[in-house]
Symmetry: none
Subunit: 195 residues, 4 copies
Amino acid sequence: MPRTKEACQQIRDESRQHILDETAEVFANKGLANTKISDLAEAAGVSQGLLYRYFTDKDDVFIALLERAINGVILIAQTSIKKKGTPLEKLHWLTEQILQGMSEEPVYFQLFSQAMALSGRVFETIAKLDTVVKILRELITEGQNVGEIAKRDPDQLVILYLGCIYGLAAGKCFSIPWLDEHFPVADAVLQILKP
Amino acid sequence: MPRTKEACQQIRDESRQHILDETAEVFANKGLANTKISDLAEAAGVSQGLLYRYFTDKDDVFIALLERAINGVILIAQTSIKKKGTPLEKLHWLTEQILQGMSEEPVYFQLFSQAMALSGRVFETIAKLDTVVKILRELITEGQNVGEIAKRDPDQLVILYLGCIYGLAAGKCFSIPWLDEHFPVADAVLQILKP
Amino acid sequence: MPRTKEACQQIRDESRQHILDETAEVFANKGLANTKISDLAEAAGVSQGLLYRYFTDKDDVFIALLERAINGVILIAQTSIKKKGTPLEKLHWLTEQILQGMSEEPVYFQLFSQAMALSGRVFETIAKLDTVVKILRELITEGQNVGEIAKRDPDQLVILYLGCIYGLAAGKCFSIPWLDEHFPVADAVLQILKP
Amino acid sequence: MPRTKEACQQIRDESRQHILDETAEVFANKGLANTKISDLAEAAGVSQGLLYRYFTDKDDVFIALLERAINGVILIAQTSIKKKGTPLEKLHWLTEQILQGMSEEPVYFQLFSQAMALSGRVFETIAKLDTVVKILRELITEGQNVGEIAKRDPDQLVILYLGCIYGLAAGKCFSIPWLDEHFPVADAVLQILKP
DNA sequence: CATGAATGAGACTTCATTCAT
DNA sequence: CATGAATGAAGTCTCATTCAT
């Protein structure tokens, strides 16, 4: 007797998630270009052929992973604005979460640094970060209104903030010995926004 | 009369430099992995075979380019400490030079973002940035002594500063429409070091 | 009460016939080589796995279909000789039947044109057309005896006749716009045999 | 010292022609679908990689070959109308040439029978046969005017004639033992056009 | 020194076939 | 009997690298 439709779908969903789970680290370690389909298959413990039932190609796996990472950041940003406190306090919480994520699960943050190796579809994917940009710009503007944040062009501050975060994440990719023990804390990063 | 050894060597050097000149932009645009030897040869206006007389392989070209970029930054750093003024003023000049370089010749800064796609030789190459790290650490410590700079762990500040710079350079790789007109100025970046 | 052996066998036969029914058009449209097992399964509305209970592989389905087509032609040929009239009249009826079949159900005739893409088993399959060849040769010889048909080598006439029929069937595979409205009638084809 | 541009181009041209020369028979024997790139490379005595410098893929090789075959037929047709004699005599010469070609170099004629296995580009390729169709229609019409050819729809006669030719060519693909010794002559084929 | 035709290893991708459910 | 997820062999294709000229 054949499986039910639902059982099938569940198997498919689980397989897909499983592949993504096991695959993220490979990309983070070897880089997008140096990762072979066979590496992914091996890491996920499935045949190469099966990968193609779930993803159209290598980039497709990577993008799915990138979206996971982006969704994580979006979630943090959206949660931050619901927190109690001043805009700067919200930004502080946001920054802490991100830095903590970088330490505890650097893999997903490292994916961002590989993104530019994507051929063309990158842009539409990272475009999703717009949500985060908007939230940051809003928090910064509010912070400026209450005098917590420097009265500079808010967009410039957003760029500076995100550039800083991105650069720190990228640092995790080059295994620099003394990096971890001197890794910046939220307070230090937020200095960038201070008046 | 045959060419002298020196003349020969000079021709070689010029050819090599020429290849590097024409090649940087290709890497910056297409990325290390998506650049083919044939792309490089075409851009440099030479045959594929000839490339191999000057470089051992694709990575070798890239690394030579990366070293150029690194040497540029080292030069700026070394010059900065000879400038007159307080440590913070020196850092200001340094930062201005770098931001200006990013705007005027972003290509070389974009190469940094591709570096992690290198298989293994990266580390020894970026290790050369140690010189810059040392200079930064020194300027920061001096700045702290005269009270211009926050009394934090100097290494943390170095990481923060370099992360920020790296992140801004990387931003240039994703062609984000509103990036250029809101690109941070030196003052804003240096805020990160303020007490 | 369990099903009887016969009932079981009947269900099997019906399933098999059903698969063949739904499958012929796929082969005719996409060609033997460009048709995937999954195409066949989908067209028949069954799972891929089930196909293997009824056929050993893709070629097996195709050959079964080809035999259907061949049996159809054989039946027409055998019926023709029982018709009343002169040999040429019988050939006329035969030809009419075939041309009509080509128009009404071109699919099966198109299969012939794909047959040569089969690896090796083709020959034993098309060998079954021998029956038709024999009947044609006989009718032609008889026709020659009564002076209705040209006194040429009968085998040459058989080849010519079958080549003509085959070529017309093949024409249906390339969807040529003006083909259908100028498609030859039996009289025109039979001209080939006239004295 | 490098080769001159012309020498290079000549090498390229010769290589391409050489590959086509050696490759036709493989396609004719094994069929389009059953021919592997490695078969082609081996037959031509070149590496697989080199094939891709001259052709985009397997179909591209096949199409180039098909065009050769088509050009051959077009040439015969164009030559025929310049011959002296009545329209039917011209058609006789044309038919003789084709039948002779089928016997002496069946390979190219067999390619036609494989053409339908092409995915989509077939149509534009065989569309080139239009030239031949036009010439045939003209000769037939002229023949009708002088009473040499049956007063039927000329297009129907063209279809019949080409179908017949195609069918005979296809027959060469199935190695039928008694085919060659009973192969039709031009007179027999032209019977189809007789009044 | 300079060229680009030629190679071949190694990646990618497809799909007939099997098998646990 | 029926399913479709999973496999893996076999083919396609790319591109760094070599080499005759």
